[in-house]
């Protein structure tokens, strides 16, 4: 599968949308070359604010900008956007439901070399727990670009979690992104796999492999983690024998938890979680090596499906 950069797609989308909409302003905490917000700075320097290495101030400043009718996008690594600036996001942005967009870049384990301090394995859980917050996790560059447009059109705080590395192109080029809509990327009937981010492509590989064994796997790209439609989730699992969730995140509080919350009364529908097993990240020399180390692989998804069908 061809791969492309999500963060470049993000930066380009900001530039594209910033051309049409002068309300868009971009704030950065000295990571513009990584988050690719720098692309916006090149085009619209007067609407780009370098806030220095001070994420808390950046988040609350964005609250003020939104109160002056701007649409601020704040940028940092996911671990800092959700962790360092948590209180500002909660108090100054989310409680009044301000129209601030938060980009958590280099999310999950995707900043493989930098180790646990820079790897966000709990940001989905943190952001999902905040009332008024919308949480998005694009699976590829095309979806990222569409999501940024949807974020501008959405009135309220949104968190987008972006991978640092180029990922396979798997989503549909056509149409707009609809926040809250789950997309079936592979139809199937035995097991439903809800995945997002890098794990969607892994789930597709697992589905391909299992097809040879006569197992039909449905893969759903759960790129909106919140708001999550109960009806949609229930419709997708209709007739399935089990559910697997797959995320580049701790199994505590993220996508798996969100799906399990919805399916809690489905007695005959066992769930397996593929994700980071309650541990911090670590440094590695390659992204794939790190994903493998934490069991974030097509093989792990295949094993989870097999386990469900055997039980």
């Amino acid at each position: 599968m061809a791969t492309r950069s999500l963060r470049v797609a993000y930066g380009q989308a900001l530039v594209e949308l910033g051309k049409e909409d002068e309300r868009i302003v971009v704030l950065e905490a000295d990571l513009g070359k990584s988050t690719m917000s720098i692309l916006f700075q090149e085009q619209y320097p007067e609407r780009y604010f370098e806030m220095g290495i001070a994420e808390q101030n950046m988040a609350a400043t964005a609250a003020g900008l939104s109160l002056a009718d701007k649409i601020p996008f704040i940028n940092s690594f996911a671990v800092f956007a959700s962790g360092r600036a948590y209180d500002q996001v909660r108090q100054s942005i989310a409680i009044p439901g301000l129209n601030v967009k938060i980009c958590g870049s280099s999310a999950g384990l995707s900043d493989f070399g930098d180790g646990s301090t820079h790897q966000a394995i709990e940001d989905m859980a943190i952001m999902r727990a905040i009332p008024n917050m919308t949480v998005l996790v694009p699976a590829d560059a095309v979806e990222t670009r569409k999501m940024v447009k949807a974020m501008v059109e959405w009135n309220g705080p949104v968190y987008i979690r972006i991978n640092r590395n180029d990922l396979p192109m798997i989503t549909d080029i056509e149409g707009d992104y609809e926040i809250g809509k789950l997309q079936v990327v592979r139809d199937g009937s035995d097991i439903a796999v809800f995945a997002n981010g890098v794990m969607v492509s892994k789930a597709l590989v697992a589905a391909d492999e299992l097809k040879r064994d006569g197992i039909s796997v449905k893969v759903i790209n759960a790129s909106t983690v919140k708001p999550l439609s109960k009806d949609e989730v229930l419709a997708h699992v209709q007739g399935c024998k089990g559910v697997v969730t797959a995320e580049e995140h701790s199994i505590i509080g993220g996508l798996g938890s969100a799906i399990a919350e919805v399916l809690r009364r489905e007695r005959n529908l066992p769930i397996e979680f593929v994700g980071v097993q309650d541990s911090f990240g670590t440094s590695a020399l390659s992204y794939d090596e790190l994903l493998e180390h934490y069991g974030l692989t097509a093989e792990a998804i295949r094993d989870a499906i097999t386990l469900l069908l055997e039980s």
Partner: protein, 280 residues
């Protein structure tokens, strides 16, 4: 120069705000009496003199903005907003009540006239910076005023924001430090000393004005000086007395967030019922 008449008018308004705060507190109810009274004169000068606000149109684009970074002093802001007609005065009797519009800390969604949600200390100056940047982008001449507590200055975010205000040359922003010298548990100089304030702010590049925060003449003059300052933000360091105007609450940390007995309540009301010189 402010006229005698204006000063008398603002002093009288400050007295009324304090009385209103006491009435909101009532008997036996816990509330932030001390910090509300220490900044009452500043709040009066802003709402009844310096700021352009429209109670009939609270979101008017060219209004001046008021932020209470020390959000726990919300009672004094509520008193001013009700008096100006942003909402009915009856609401004051339901402060902090379930389902009421007046929350324990300022809430812009629930309360007309409140500009942001503040109260998690340390965040107001950042929000003010964002507003000032946004107003400047749109070429709107309005000014942003933010009151910060001196205990609150221990929050690191204040200093991130203080650097940012100067970096962006925000002369449409005025910070006012309500230096009442007491934090929740006691004197700041004995607990976590945020002093000296002037060298800190000046070192960060601010235009600093030191005043007696209970001298209406000095408050008004400082706001004028801030208006005349270009290219950098102004901070007014206002030396104040926590609980000002109420004998038993003055300089008393117990009334940072305390309740009055029936006797104290009556005494406070009596003390605040003495109309200032001139009156109105």
């Amino acid at each position: 120069m402010a006229t005698e008449e204006l000063i008398n008018h603002l002093e009288e308004k400050a007295r009324q705000l304090r009385l209103s705060v006491v009435e909101m507190m009532g008997i036996g109810k816990v509330g932030h009496l001390g910090g509300s009274c220490s900044c009452a004169d500043i709040v009066a000068a802003l709402y009844y003199h310096r700021m352009k606000v429209d109670p009939q149109n609270p979101k008017k684009a060219d209004r001046d903005r008021f932020l209470l970074s020390k959000g726990h002093a919300a009672l004094v802001q509520y008193a001013a907003l009700a008096d100006l007609g942003f909402f009915p005065k009856e609401e004051l009797q339901r402060v902090k009540a379930l389902g009421g519009m007046l929350q324990g800390h300022p809430d812009m969604i629930k309360t007309p006239g409140v500009e942001a949600n503040t109260g998690s200390l340390g965040q107001g100056l950042s929000i003010a910076n964002g507003m000032a940047l946004g107003l400047r982008l749109d070429g709107i001449e309005s000014k942003v005023f933010v009151i910060i507590g001196d205990g609150e200055l221990a929050e690191g975010q204040i200093w991130e924001a203080a650097m940012a205000s100067v970096n962006f040359g925000l002369d449409n922003l005025v910070a006012i430090v309500d230096q009442n010298g007491l934090q929740a548990t006691g004197p700041i100089i004995e607990r976590f000393n945020t002093n000296p304030l002037t060298p800190k702010w000046a070192g960060f590049g601010w235009h600093v004005i030191e005043i007696d925060g209970h001298s209406m003449r000095e408050i008004v003059a400082a706001l004028e000086e801030a208006d005349a300052t270009r290219g950098k933000p102004t901070v007014i360091i206002a030396k104040t007395v926590k609980g000002k105007g109420i004998s038993f609450a003055e300089n008393n940390a117990a009334f940072h967030n305390g309740a009055m007995t029936a006797e104290q309540y009556e005494l406070a009301k009596r003390e605040l019922s003495i109309v200032a010189r001139g009156g109105c």
